[in-house]
Amino acid sequence: MSFLNVLREYENFDFEGYFKNVTDEMIISSINKKVLDKFDFLNLLCPKAKNHLEMMAQKAHKITVANFGYTINLYLPIYVSNYCSSDCLYCGFSKKNKIHRKKLSLEEVGIEAKEIAKTGIKSILFLTGESRKVTPLEYLCDVTKILKKHFSFVSIEVFPMSQEDYEVLFKAGVDGLTVYQEVYDKKIYKSVHVSGEKSNFEYRLDTPQRGAKAGFRSLNIGTLFGLGNISKEAFFSGLHARYLSYKYLECELGLSLPRINDAEGDFKPNTILDDVTFVQIMCAYRLFLPRVDINISTREDAKFRDNLLGICATKFSAGSKTEVGGYTKAKTEPQFEISDKRDSEEVIQRIQNLGYEPVYKNWESI
């Protein structure tokens, strides 16, 4: 069984037609339900639901406080390599882009890690471009071991792997896996992932599942807004998270809402996710999946992030650098431009001023 089977059920589903028949009463009743089914979720994603956004936000806030309290988990990304053998039209690291390529030596990883650890944040996400050749499994294991000396929680965002390879990484100390489907619409997927391993839609779709089987404690997924139809993509992301949560009870699930901004190259997004719809989707995620982590990165600007905190965000990066070697001596181009340019101290101070507790450490290496 794969999430592909679920996706197939919607191949001929008329979303437009469904949305036309959604009434205000339906939306209000969906907001007020204790357990929302997939149609309730869809009602909340309907354009009309924007009329009830305040009500959605109020409930989202309430559920979040009940489940997570007034806390926000902090993490930082470290880019260890920007070599990539795929060509994704929207990404600065695409093999077609003539950028300065760099892979950190293990020694450099240690230096960067030490620098990042100065923030006091104990959770790290390490990323690479998707090149099996340049950053093979052994390298990833070595990086993990170094990072584990400085951080208690290590997650990866690298090329999709087999369950066996993930098991090796789990043993080496990896705790969590981030993998975005980018777009759940297969046709669009094929059109933006032109070549390389990443063009395999199905293999990518089953990646979180292989990670769960390998033992990772947390899975973070999402769609990249800007590629496919906004409401549909949000709907499938939520369904995917719920599918995984029913199948792998023991995994903590997270959803991110990345949206395309100005990366290197000049990709024009197919769709634009505006701020209002962003908040609508985030609240719909929370109401549909009360315990899921909602992760807001520094792609979003400072003011917007601060406001999302009070609604239902549970995870923040703070003071991120998206260049390889960015924390010590950035020379390379970033994967994407960050908007919230505050350093981690500033973000943390702001979180406290807003009446939330910044969580530096939320796991112990065991």
Partner: protein, 253 residues
């Protein structure tokens, strides 16, 4: 007095450190509520960062109850317990083995296993469980110092949804029964005490109240009231005692 392991406590309110807006609120809450035992997730204990280290916000006379939050099986729970002991958190351990990240339901089977290992190793074990009489008996045999059945799902504030089973557990138990999770209001804490619970653990409701210290105080009064009600056998006063038309009058008793 509430006796757990070799320690005695006058307060029957156990509190928690999670979900607070500000760690400075913890101390005030402890003062106002009189709680003498506080649970902390080892996963959150940060020895390297004094400002973030929750242990620095807890007065020394309070008994620490580290918990194994994040453990997915007995083995992980045992490892976390040992790290907690090494970190200087003492010998009390609350076992939380959760195999369900969605509703945070405890895994009784793995909890029994972990209890057996840790009790043998000298820990004072407080296992968090799904209310079940058989599990409670097995935990007693395994060396648990108390049992901590849930009142309703964590963070739900739904009160004693499992009341009828809790009553059976209380009736049958030879060790203290502490109701953990799901209590959102002082009145619910009072009813837990009225049915004979030895103590209750309240975290979410206190931590997320707009004034945690005041909320803690409210819970402590409710718990005292509930306890006195239990001791005064209020619950046992039969509603059948004064029936207006006696059924046994013909016997000329």
């Amino acid at each position: 007095m509430l006796k757990i392991g070799d320690k005695e406590f006058s307060s029957r309110l156990l509190s928690g450190t999670g979900k607070f807006r500000d760690k400075n609120d913890i101390k005030k809450m402890l003062e106002k509520s009189g709680s003498q035992i506080i649970t902390i997730a080892l996963r959150r204990v940060n020895l390297e960062n004094p400002q973030d280290n929750v242990l620095n916000y807890i007065p020394k006379h309070i008994t620490l109850l580290p918990n194994t939050s994040g453990a997915r099986n007995a083995d992980e729970a045992v490892r976390i317990a040992n790290i907690a002991r090494e970190a200087g958190c003492g010998d009390f351990i609350k076992i939380e083995v959760i195999h369900d990240a969605k509703y945070l339901m405890p895994d009784n089977e793995e909890t029994i296993k972990a209890t057996r290992i840790l009790a043998k190793d000298g820990f004072t074990v407080l296992p968090y469980i799904m209310p079940d009489i058989v599990t409670c008996k097995k935990l007693e045999d395994a060396g648990a110092s108390v049992v901590m059945p849930l009142g309703s799902p964590i963070g739900s504030n739904a009160g004693l949804q499992t009341k009828s089973i809790l009553e059976m557990i209380i009736e049958n138990s030879n060790i203290p029964v502490i109701i953990d999770a799901g209590i959102g209001l002082p009145s619910q804490a009072a009813s837990a005490m009225e049915i004979g619970a030895d103590a209750v653990l309240i975290n979410t409701a206190i931590a997320t109240a707009s004034n945690p210290a005041l909320a803690g105080e409210a819970f402590s009064w409710a718990i005292k009231a509930g306890r006195i009600a239990y001791l005064s056998k209020l619950q046992e006063q039969s509603q059948y005692a004064n029936a207006s038309s006696p059924l046994t009058g013909f016997l000329n008793l």
